[in-house]
Symmetry: D2
Subunit: 311 residues, 4 copies
């Protein structure tokens, strides 16, 4: 039954699975690992799964471009939730392996820059080769093809390995953000600490177009939390922008900004409004004066009065 099936970027034992298991509903869903982000999302598009959890941004490596690009293209999908997970690697080995025995290491290409300094210090002579995923690296260690793999500590059990070193991460505060993606539907009700994701295409070859795009947000007091340029595939110099803005699509300031973008940009794709992970309403900066729903409604009433000549 698709309604109870969630796909995720597999294999089992990845950080994505760990992130998915933080969702309360995960306990009652069938969790299906997929070989790639496109595969996880296509299962949703095709109706075989209700939702997919995929990584979208890493504080060290930046946007997970496959996810960003997949959401921008093809049959529309929508983001309903986000999960942020602190990332720390464990060095997984076959039981008994010592640090001095390690000649070859593996892991996901994204892991490599996050452990580079650690490697340089502790295993300067070890040879790195990339694996398809951190969990896949663990499997390759299990099979004896590498001596050690960087992966989440939780993957050790799955592959019969042990965590020789834990909490490895070059950058403090390393974390990965994941999104739960489904087919388009009504967004969750606003919580007061929400985020809205869109992809915006710029008109071709119009200098200043990015500035105009940003002004549509700025003039309504909508702060941007993430802006990521992506090639459109139409040749170097053609970009679209994947943007996360503070607020919910039902907030008037956000709605008006989105309509402004829709009017001036050749294409805008709405990717969803959803609660911000780990942020409470009390943590938020106050709204810029003049941008609350109340002020929008008061201004709308005033406009009607002016149009009717009642003042």
């Amino acid at each position: 039954m698709s309604a109870t099936r969630y796909t995720y970027l597999g294999p089992e034992g990845t950080f994505t699975e760990a992130a998915l298991r933080t969702l309360p509903e995960a306990a009652t869903r069938e969790l299906v690992p997929m070989v790639s982000v496109p595969a996880a999302l296509d299962a949703v598009r095709g109706g075989e799964a209700a939702a997919a959890l995929v990584p979208i941004e890493n504080s060290v490596e930046g946007g997970v471009t496959t996810t960003v690009d997949e959401l921008a293209k093809g049959t529309p999908l929508m983001i309903y939730r986000e999960v942020v997970l602190p990332i720390a690697f464990a060095l997984l080995v076959r039981p008994g392996t010592k640090l001095k025995d390690i000649k070859t290491v593996t892991g996901h290409p994204v892991a490599q820059p996050q452990v580079r300094n650690w490697l340089g210090e502790h295993l300067p002579d070890a040879l790195w080769e990339s694996a398809a995923s951190n969990a896949d690296g663990a499997r390759l260690v299990q099979e004896g093809r590498f001596d050690a793999a960087f992966a989440g500590e939780f993957a050790a059990a799955t592959y019969g390995l042990e965590a020789l070193v834990t909490e490895i991460h070059d950058a403090a505060n390393a974390e990965t953000r994941f999104v739960l993606v489904g087919r388009p539907g009504r967004p969750a009700a606003p919580t007061g600490a929400d985020k809205t994701s869109v992809v915006i295409w710029l008109g071709d070859d119009h200098p200043g177009a990015l500035l105009e795009l940003l002004q549509e947000f700025a003039v309504r007091g909508v702060n941007l939390m993430r802006i990521e340029s992506r090639p459109t595939g139409q040749g170097i110099g053609n970009y679209c922008f994947s943007v996360d803005a503070e607020g919910h699509i039902t907030d008037r300031r956000v709605g008006e900004a989105l309509m402004g973008l829709k009017r001036i940009c050749p294409k805008v794709r709405f990717l969803g409004s959803y609660p911000r992970a780990g942020v409470a309403v009390a943590d938020l900066r106050p709204l810029r004066p003049g941008t609350s729903d109340e002020e929008f409604l008061a201004a709308s009433d005033w406009l009607t009065q002016c149009q009717d000549g009642r003042f």
Copy 2:
């Protein structure tokens, strides 16, 4: 009957009367000259007149500040029409007076800079003294207190004078704009070549506030045709701005810009939307892409679809 009475800045024989008589409806109204702009407007406020015609802007002297300030203060009024009149002065004298006989000249203070060069060339030694109005100057000539008055040629008959010289104006293209002001009511339907007038107060002491004000217009593609700073009377450095924008309050781009102003400024006063004098729809610059009513409506439909998850 107030419904058939129009006041205007008198006395009889001023350019304002000439402007008023260009309105077709003037033929069926009682036209009442008043001693001042405030008096003409107060008659409307008090219900003794249906409307008042007053000068608001002169291409040589700038805004007629009394009118601009009167419309910004007190009981609200609304502009329903504008009239633009080319301004050329005639030198009115008692019959028989020759140019060489003229030792003293008079006219409204606003006339003086518009004929200064002509005076310097043709009557370098004549003494200028200001009159309360051009027509009043004509009257003073009639009474023998001055030798000549600058006024509209049409004033000669009223005061038994003759126009010794006509078409006097230092600046080519001199013209004055007049507005027909009434009590608040529903603005005339949009013609496609309209103008919207507002007065906008800036928050105190907020650098960049004027820039923000202008961006509310710019981001919606609404062009400004006139912007005039006026003191608020709260001390030097406190201004409000009297602004004419292209478009009608029922145009979506104009309405959204006005609501934006209403939200960020401490006070906005709507002064009316009315047809632009002497401008046909065909003369207008094309709208900036993305700012037509159709595009606003399409964006609004799109937003609703996004909010409903139907896409």
Copy 3:
């Protein structure tokens, strides 16, 4: 000797004379009243006077347009000082006149709106007629042509009148700003609390030109203190802007902003940098980060290093 002669907007006994006498140097100058602002300024242009003191802005009536326009046109002049004077009127009468005897009042047209409320309350039936200046009004009372004149209290002695009522002003904080104008020369050294005046012409019919003008200031963190639109005399809708900005032309941020204006506007006229009246350095808002001279110089050094490849 022109070097010791200062002209001012006369006649004697006006607020302008009072303002001029607040300047320490006035004690050693020959102070010459002139019949008009143009006359006072032309004496400087022609070399007959070293400087002229003229009113430029009134907190009730706004810009003194004659002064603003005169400085924008003709042979260039420069502002070297400003004086701000609180404005309160006295009602001057011939000795013995009682309030109930007053049927006619006079004063400068600019005075009228500043005493309108007072008049309405205390002399509702008195007839107002404008005089060429407040002091001229006092003279007309002396001559018996009017019963009372609004003028500065200091004018009473000059014209043998007495001040029946003093401290009359409808608006609290009424004040007038005067400028001391000379032929172009090196501006006074910066004091840290300075102001720079310019007149800026906009390119014809370029929507958004005013916004671009303001951004030249904003992007360098230069606050505007006054912006006043003035017609160029080229027909309604053609404006130049008279602007006062915080800072001195030798401040790097101000200089760069002025150069930016010079590049994008068809015409810019520098009117001077001079100390702000009544403002101490300690009263100023802190500069926007990144706009001090030190930061400009550091950035300039950095650019040179980049251009030389030394980093």
Copy 4:
């Protein structure tokens, strides 16, 4: 000798080597393949090579984040040249292999999305596994570990393979941009069709900071050609921006914009000014009025005159 040694992202037979060989000077240099972008760049940093050629942007996959990040961090480097190469893949196989024999394919992870559609159509059942580079994939085919590899056609000879299919690329206009990187030095003289690269860090948590950054360019009429957000490694939501702007650092408009960024941003790193690949001066958009070097110099002269009071 380091002065004659150029490193590049190896191994031999990659597109990077092909790009490097388009440089005339390559004929007289020792070309050394390196295992990674960091390795290629570190050889330059350490003085073992004069320059390194590395890919920086792909029209399908976007920025090559390793290169972008490496240039933003560590010992400063500078870009002296760029090379743009159209990208088309060949399917390389051991001689004799037929399409129907192919069960496993490999290639660089970046190649995969560029051939995904082709794979889906022609080899829907083939298993993809990533290789460290396209050339490395070819080597793995040579060794028999995969049946086919996507790589540049030129790699066939190096690895004793044959190109079964050529000109494979899902997106028309696929191309990769490479940069030639050296130690800091004086940039090449401007050609009139140049590009300037910088990395700009935003102040923490300042909404609107990106808008301000863009305005520093916009107000001086400097167009941006590429803007790419990158995480700073300080946690999600902290970005720096890698930017390519039109023009040369010795162009006054570019220099002033860079100084503006230097003043308002916590950190700016200059990455070089160099000729745009494949763009002639005649192809360029005209400069925005007011932004040529001549206009900058004229404005500078004018400012000096104003400061000296000579006008």
